[in-house]
Structures are given as C-alpha cells and as structure tokens.
C-alpha cells in the first residue's frame, strides 16, 4: 500500500472515541478464551486506536467485579474472580494430578528458567525421568527455550504463557517467594568441583550435543 492511500485512509477513518474503543476490546477479550495480546487487539481494531489506553479504562471498570481483566505476560484475558470459584463447581475441570517429581520439576523450571535438564537434576539430586518432562510439555506449561552458551550448548526449559494463565500470574517475576529465594542466593547456580556429582544417566549428554552441532554445522 502506498503512503498516499494510507494517509487518505487515516483521515477517512478516524479512530473511534475512547469509550467505544473500550467497548471494542471488551467484546474481543470476552469472545476469546485464550489470552489476547495488545498486538492482536490492535490488529483487530480500527486504525488509530490506542489499545493500551483503552485497556487501562477497561481494567478500571472491571476492578472488584465478578469478572476480572487479567494480565498474562503481554496478553490480557477475562477471568472470573478467584474468590467466587466455589460457585463454579459445575465448570471445574479435573486437572490431571501431577506427581511430586513433576511438581518439583515444574517449580525448578519456573524459578530457575531458563534451566537445563542437568541443572534440574542438580537441584533435585535425582535424574529427571522422561515422562515428567513429557507430561509438562504436553500440558503446555513448559517449552524449550534457547540453548545455553555453555559447552555442549544444551537446550533449556522455560515456562509458558499457559503456565502463567493457569496459575493466575501476570509474569514469571510474580512467582511466590521469588525475591526471597533470590536474596538468599538459592537461585544461583553454584557448581563446586569435587562436590557430590549429579545423578547418573548422563551417557546421553555428550552424544546429544554432538548430533546437534552436526546438524547445524553449516
């Protein structure tokens, strides 16, 4: 599209009043079960809208209501207020019970992310079974993150937006107790040569990196 046409369009379709913009994002958020990013909202709204400002108004309007505007990462979603959960027994979905290993692994990923498999094992002192990671991946609570810039360039795990949504977190920084853990130095990675070695099951490690580097050599 040439500049000229775009300019014309802008003047032809002036952005709707703020109250109307607020209605619009309200409708869009309402219609989708998944969190919607500001970018997605913008793409859907008429040209020239200030979605961020409309969101401020909308959040204010829903403050204290039975339905809330929740921020999840860069995205927003309407969710019922947590204190009314007891009214919704009919809607409650049975979440698959996670094993203790899966819960701990999830917590380690959330608090230490991005974290490699070897680091998870270091913290837990046992090897991570495949089923555990698999289960968390399938729930879409974790995903692969970028590779570590350490020898072998191991893949890392990070938590997803779905994780934040499920636990009602705006941000991974809002994880309970994160600040205290960090202040106590418990999130630092301090390997100590000669210390008790992490559990076995490491025979795959070197090979894995080999295969990978081969893949990307050129």
């Amino acid at each position: 599209m040439s500049d000229e046409i775009e300019n014309k369009e802008e003047s032809l379709f002036q952005a709707p009043p703020m109250a109307e913009q607020e209605r619009m994002i309200e409708a869009v958020l309402f219609a989708s079960a998944e969190p919607t990013t500001l970018r997605e909202l913008e793409a859907r709204m008429p040209h020239g809208c200030d979605v961020a400002e409309a969101m401020v108004h909308l959040r204010r309007r829903y403050a204290g209501r039975g339905v809330q505007v929740m921020k999840i990462g860069d995205a927003y979603a309407l969710r019922t207020a947590a204190d009314l959960g007891y009214l919704m027994q009919k809607e409650t979905v049975e979440v698959r019970k996670l094993s203790r290993a899966a819960i701990e692994t999830l917590a380690i990923i959330a608090y230490h992310q991005p974290v490699t498999r070897a680091e998870i094992e270091e913290v837990r002192g046992v090897s991570v079974s495949r089923g555990t990671v698999d289960q968390l991946l399938e729930l879409e609570w974790i995903r692969f993150g970028r590779r570590k810039m350490t020898p072998g360039r191991p893949v890392t795990f990070v938590v997803t937006e779905g994780f934040l949504d499920h636990f009602g977190l705006e941000n991974a920084r809002d994880l309970p107790g994160l600040k205290e853990l960090r202040a106590a130095g418990l999130l630092e990675n301090r390997p100590l040569s000669g210390a008790f070695p992490p559990p076995g099951d490491t025979e795959e490690e070197p090979e894995a990196t080999e295969g990978q580097s081969e893949l990307f050599e050129d």
Partner: protein, 260 residues
C-alpha cells in the same frame, strides 16, 4: 536387631516387618539428597547451620543399617555414602595445605546449600500449587460462541507437533535397514531379482559362486552375505520350479541349472 543374629526360622514377624518398612522407606525417598534432607530436618536447625558432620554420620549409619538388612541400595545411595565418608574424613582431619580442590568446609557448605535449595524449591512448589488456578478457582469464558460465521480455514501446529514430526522421520530413518549400515549386505530380494534375470542363460550346471554379483567376491563380509542370499534365492527359485540344484557331497560346490 542386627546385634544378635538369629536363625531365619526364628526371625520375628516384627523384624521382618521392620525390614520391609525400611525398604519402603528407601523407595519413598527420591534419591540420596532427599534422604539427607529428611535426616537433616531432624536436627531442627536452620539448614544453613546444619552439622554436615552429624548428617554424614546419620546417612552412613542409615546405609550400614540397610546393608545389614541386605537391602538392595541404588548406586546413587552408595556413591553418596562414599562421598560423605570422604567428606567426613576431610572435616575431621586438619587441612593439608598441599592438597588441591575445595576444602572440607567448602564441600560441607555446598552440601548445606544444596539441601537448603532443595527444601526451598519444595516449599515454593507447594505454594505454587496452592495458588488460585484456572479451571479450579477462576474460570475462562465458558461459551466461546462466535457471533459471525465467516469461515476461513487456517492451519496451525504446535512446536510439540513439529518436534514429534521430526522425531518420527528421524526414527523411521533408524529403522530403514539399508540406507547407511547395509552397504555390505546383499539382500535376498536383490539376489532373487538378479537370479531371475540370469537363470534364463544358465542352460548347464554352473557353480553357485559364479552367480555372485560383481564386486562382492573379495571382501569376506560381502562375499558371505552375497553367497547366503544367492543360495536362499536359488532355493526359492527351485521351489518355484524354475531351477534345479545339486551338491555331490557335504561341502562340495553347489551347482545350479535352469529347469525347463
């Protein structure tokens, strides 16, 4: 109970139950670090101020006890026991300045750090799971009914699909028997195909070895494979009634002839 050995017959039910309880206990721990954490908790102090020496003794006693009961202990537990025994000696002996590596104190501090970290992760994991959760405490829109019915098909896939797809193609590769690792294998299908083309010209008795494909005669591995498959293919053709086969005595050359 390990102090006065008794006959198997006389072992009391209580003893046996105790033994079993311990097995369950060992299995109830998720590895040595978990066991150490539990032992450490009995000291009832801040994990940072824990007596690693005392902890090491407790752990070693536990392992000794388990051994006395002839329990199978996972290698992890024994590695930890060895390491703790080493740590104990380092803590008890005066430091040797010529020795390399971290001191006993540093190792002990690190172990305390590991235990504290594990305990902290358990704690936050519990807090995380106790949060208000989607689908249990708060809810998404229940009816995602759309107003307009404009249909446009778009395609999607998740990263998991992608990776599983890749995994699928790669494993298929591993199972495809002839691409990489079978260059020295002459399959029966190959032999059969070759023989079918050749037997038309085999009017008189000819040695089996003369039917081996070119380039397969010298390398012993290839020769063996080609001979076996050619022989198997010959038998197949005999069965089909297109070939005759004979051998004058054991280990004598095998001969083939077209059957008209």
């Amino acid at each position: 109970m390990a102090e006065n050995p008794v006959d198997d017959d006389k072992t009391s039910v209580a003893d046996r139950l105790a033994t079993e309880a311990l097995i369950i206990d060992v299995e109830g721990f998720e590895g040595p670090l978990d066991l150490l954490l539990t032992l450490g908790r009995t000291q009832k102090v801040d994990l940072r101020k824990i007596s690693v020496l005392h902890l090491a003794r407790q752990y070693l006693a536990f392992v000794e006890h388990a051994k006395a009961l002839r329990l199978e202990l996972a290698a992890d537990y024994l590695v930890m026991a060895a390491w703790l025994a080493f740590l104990k000696s380092r803590l008890l002996l005066p430091p040797d300045p010529s020795e390399e590596g971290p001191s006993g104190e540093e190792l002990a501090a690190h172990l305390a750090f590991q235990l504290e970290r594990l305990a902290a992760m358990r704690d936050v994991a519990a807090r995380l799971m106790a949060r208000d959760r989607l689908g249990r405490d708060f809810f998404a829109r229940g009816d995602i009914q759309m107003v307009e019915r404009v249909r446009k098909v778009t395609y999607t896939a998740t990263l998991l699909d992608l990776m599983q797809g890749y995994a699928r193609t790669r494993t298929r590769d591993e199972f495809r028997p002839f691409v990489m690792d079978r260059e020295k294998v002459f399959t029966m299908e190959q032999a059969l195909e070759r023989m079918r083309a050749m037997i038309g010209f085999a009017g008189d008795w000819g040695d089996l070895t003369s039917y081996l494909p070119e380039g397969w005669e010298s390398d012993p591995v290839k020769r063996r494979s080609a001979t076996a498959s050619t022989f198997a293919a010959s038998l197949e053709l005999v069965k089909e009634g297109r070939l005759e086969i004979r051998q004058s005595e054991i280990f004598a050359p095998i001969q083939l002839r077209r059957k008209d």
